[in-house]
Structure formats: structure tokens, C-alpha cells
Symmetry: C2
Subunit: 118 residues, 2 copies
Amino acid sequence: MALVWEQVVVDAVDPEALAAWWREALDWVTVSEPGDEPELRPAADSLPGLLFVRVPEPKSVKDRLHLDFRPDDQAAEVARLEALGATRVDVGQVDPSWVVLADPEGNEFCVLGSRHDG
Amino acid sequence: MALVWEQVVVDAVDPEALAAWWREALDWVTVSEPGDEPELRPAADSLPGLLFVRVPEPKSVKDRLHLDFRPDDQAAEVARLEALGATRVDVGQVDPSWVVLADPEGNEFCVLGSRHDG
């Protein structure tokens, strides 16, 4: 393959804090060195990962790209993420099979229906 | 793992056209049925993929999340992508090791330094 998908870059006002939040949310590993831009992967050798880079401006509009995750148990995962500080977001969704949440900097992401629901 | 990263969702004014562009750009496969929201993956059983969903509004600000790809040969890949219609974008980058391009709807993405550069 000529192009390998290495990462999604996430602009952040506080990249260290946002990366720490996502590491906990996803149970991923940090592959960056301390002091470098924080980079997370599902496992050390698993691509793509998430790389958090500092920008001065906060999020201003609905993200044009967002992440979708498939849970084992949707209700349990949504409750766990809300306990970590995720917030429910209304983006006009009408399909009740997925739940839209936002991370601490407001980035929308979805928890899809549970795997066993098909 | 409690949450599996299934896809990045890309908002698009013309999801079919944008998905067709990315399929060509990445040499990925379409895993969606005709008429459904277009979904691409590196291979049929390889996650995460890209899912393109229709929105009424065009892109308005720099994407908060963007995709980074690692090429075998950066110059060759950038030339190929520009021939497909990608455009160079100035987001204030100062590191010359990567090239910032935009897809036909203006979504920024990066072609990183070639693998053999380290």
C-alpha cells in the first residue's frame, strides 16, 4: 500500500490533558516520549493512532470529522464515558441506535450500537 | 477491548463523490452497499474505515481532526494526489518533513515523510 494511515491528528488547547482523557476512555497506550506531542495507539505497534497537537483556538463548530466506536455494551460504555466527563451532544441525530458524546474539548464522537445487536 | 474504533465519519456535501475520491487516493475498498452511506476500509475486514455522511453545510474552518498518512515515497505520492485533485494548503506549518494537502471538499490531510527517512 502506497499510503499507510498512521494517525488522526486532534487539535487541542491542552493536548496533554485531552490525550490523558482519551487514553483512559479507550484503554490505549501512550507511544510518545514525555514532552513530545502525546500519541496514543490501541497497542504499541497498532496503527492508526491518535496524535494530539496544540493549537491556540478552541473548537468553534461541529467537527467535520469524528470518531465512531463499537462497544461490547453500549449502555455500560456510555455510562463509563459520562463518568469520565463525556457529555451528551445533540447534533440533530434521529437514529436512536447510537449515542453522540463530546470529549472535554467538545469533540463529538459516537458510541455505536453494541456488537451483539448486530 | 471495550470500545473498538470502527471508523472516522467524514461530513460531506457530496458523500458519494468524496468517497470515490478517497477510494482512489488510498486504494481502499468499498464495504457499503450501493445507496447506503459510502464506507471505505483498507481491506474488507480491516478497521477503522472511513464513512462519508451527507450534511447540508460545506466545510467552514480548519478541521479540528485530520488524517495523516505515511508514504513509501513522499514526492511521488504528493504528485499522484495532486494529479487526482488534491490541493496544497497553508496551515502555517513550519516543519518541512510533511506536506499538507486538502481533499476536494477542503479537508486537510498530511503526507508524512517517507518511511525510509526514518
